[in-house]
């Protein structure tokens, strides 16, 4: 083993070493929660810096199973940045709820490790392991406070449905292995055209898609999303809806991207994905209208966003893939900010924030109202913000791939979804209420919110910078 291999995968090593080290700290050190908080922030910052510095060095390590550099490091950057933002703001939320323990950060780190493995793996075994590591940590995080019934229920539902879905994913991988005689994604992609003639391979591919579409929360397999996002602690929902989705889409892009560039018969798969996309967009945005609970509304909007992103994958060209990655980056910042704003209104795990809690927020807390309004505009895809360009690239890719109907349905669904996003703004600015709402704001939360706002604005004003970066690293 050369040293270079280990230098290549250093981001994964940093995160895994921190996970193990923090378990030791938690075991031996009495007042460990604050120490672990700072340890995890330092190690995440190291990961961020290292993955940006080595982004130009692309390598395949450990007999073609683990990719490093390029698009993988970009995913590392996004995933660790999202986790960093969530961790920074989670501390005050947990202290407020009097349930601040070091285990929270350990679990976030092990889920981050799983997500990074998913983004970098080029072997289905490793993808499966990463996915399970992520999911298992999320099951526990969803039920983080075991004394609260909401948390228990969310984690039980997530666990049963998630394990069910990973059974399908695993069967898909087994059938693909059976028809391709290998689990290496690069080898499978090379043989894609011949393999598509085997019914066993097609069946395996469909089962794999079912498993992934569960993890990205697209429609026929979306029933867990609203319950889990509503029941979990709000900071955990922020992480699950952003980093979890990013990692699942990363694995999906890796599994399908190679097959889209070489001249292959992608049509069957593209057709299935486009049906999933249509169903997710329409059902997600129509059901969200009926929601008054804000976390639930964001959950349905997350389903709709999964639909928009699937358009990019169905269109199967370079613009589509880089559009999806761009969309994921923007979506991470928008959703983290929205969930954190909701978490600021909660003082324990049992409070459920509804639309009425936002009435008159513009009078009492104008800055928070402004950031929330901005995030809602961005989520609905209005022009000057990052969310617009995410949708724009994806729709453009669909038109280029002769899937204009997908773009049309996407636009219709965006118009529908504007209703419930802008309703939040209306409640904040145009309705007044005598009672004054408490917002538990701290400087850490303000820092995260300002950072997210800046990123969303920057991605809206100069989207080309990031898109060029993504396009450069896509093979």
């Amino acid at each position: 083993m050369e040293q270079q291999t280990f230098l290549n995968i250093l981001p994964i090593l940093i995160v895994s070493t921190t996970t193990i080290a923090t378990i030791f700290v938690e075991a031996f050190y009495k007042r460990s929660d604050n120490l672990i908080y700072w340890l995890s922030i330092v190690s995440l910052i190291l990961t961020l810096i290292y993955s940006i510095l080595t982004i130009n060095v692309q390598n395949l390590n450990f007999s073609n199973t683990l990719h490093s550099g390029g698009i993988t490091n970009l995913f590392y950057f996004v995933l660790s940045l999202t986790s960093l933002l969530v961790i920074i703001s989670a501390r005050d939320y947990l202290l407020r709820a009097k349930y601040h323990h070091g285990e929270f950060y350990i679990l976030i780190f092990s889920s981050l490790l799983g997500m990074m493995l998913m983004a970098s793996s080029r072997d289905l075994i490793l993808t499966f392991l990463g996915l399970e590591l992520m999911s298992l940590s999320f099951y526990v995080l969803a039920g983080y406070n075991r004394k609260v019934l909401f948390n228990n229920e969310a984690s039980l539902k997530y666990f049963l449905l998630g394990a069910f879905a990973s059974g399908f994913l695993l069967y898909g991988i087994a059938l693909i292995y059976g028809s391709a005689q290998t689990t290496n994604i690069l080898l499978i992609v090379n043989e894609f055209n011949n393999l598509l003639l085997k019914p066993l391979f097609v069946l395996g591919l469909v089962l794999l898609l079912i498993g992934f579409s569960f993890k990205v929360a697209s429609v026929p397999f979306h029933m867990w999303v609203p319950d889990v996002y509503e029941g979990s602690p709000t900071v955990v929902s922020a992480l699950m809806s952003t980093a979890g989705k990013t990692a699942a889409f990363a694995a999906l892009i890796i599994s399908f991207y190679g097959s889209t560039t070489s001249q292959v018969n992608f049509e069957i798969v593209a057709k299935i994905i486009s049906y999933l996309a249509i169903a997710s967009m329409l059902i997600g945005s129509i059901t969200a209208i009926a929601q008054t609970n804000l976390k639930r509304m964001l959950a349905y909007s997350s389903i709709a966003h999964a639909g928009y992103m699937l358009i990019g994958i169905a269109s199967a060209n370079k613009l589509g893939m880089s559009g999806v990655i761009f969309y994921l980056i923007v979506y991470s910042f928008m959703n983290v900010a929205s969930f954190i704003l909701i978490s600021l209104m909660e003082n324990d795990f049992e409070k459920r924030i509804s639309l009425n809690d936002f009435i008159g927020l513009a009078n009492t807390h104008p800055w928070y109202a402004a950031i929330m309004a901005l995030m809602m505009f961005a989520l609905s895809g209005l022009p000057p913000f990052g969310g617009f360009f995410g949708k724009y690239y994806v729709f453009l890719a669909a038109i280029k791939a002769d899937l204009t109907y997908l773009a049309v349905i996407g636009v219709i669904s965006s118009v529908i979804s504007a209703y419930f996003y802008l309703r939040v703004v209306v409640y904040m600015y145009f309705r007044t209420n005598e009672e004054r709402k408490d917002i538990f704001h701290t400087s850490a939360d303000n820092f995260v919110l300002v950072l997210c706002t800046l990123f969303v604005l920057q991605l809206g004003i100069t989207p080309n910078l990031v898109l060029d970066l993504i396009t450069r690293f896509l093979p």
Partner: protein, 100 residues
């Protein structure tokens, strides 16, 4: 020599039994056991493919799947215990605070 087809049919049958169990049973632990049955059906598929091809990577995959299934069992039992301590039931029909 038993043909590969038989093994695949057997494991597909096990997998289907697991699916039917998950969809029809209402006790969280039994649902969970059915999920384990699905995972083990997949293990059977992997092992039979692997011995048919004479390629060891399928068997290595089975080790990982077993480890993952054990971790899943641990997390699942812990979640079910936590729920039971609060609610004194593990019937999934009674776990229904969230509604549309």
């Amino acid at each position: 020599m038993i043909p590969l087809k038989y093994y695949l049919i057997l494991s597909a049958a096990f997998f289907s039994i697991g699916i039917i169990g998950v969809l029809t049973r209402r006790n969280a632990i039994i649902i969970f056991m059915c999920i384990e049955l699905m995972l083990n059906a997949v293990n059977l598929t992997l092992v039979s493919f692997s011995s048919f091809f004479g390629d060891s990577s399928g068997q290595i995959f089975v080790f990982f799947v077993m480890a993952v299934a054990a971790a899943e069992a641990a997390v699942g039992l812990a979640i079910i215990i936590a729920l039971f301590r609060n609610k004194l039931t593990i019937n999934v029909d009674e776990v229904n605070i969230f509604k549309w």
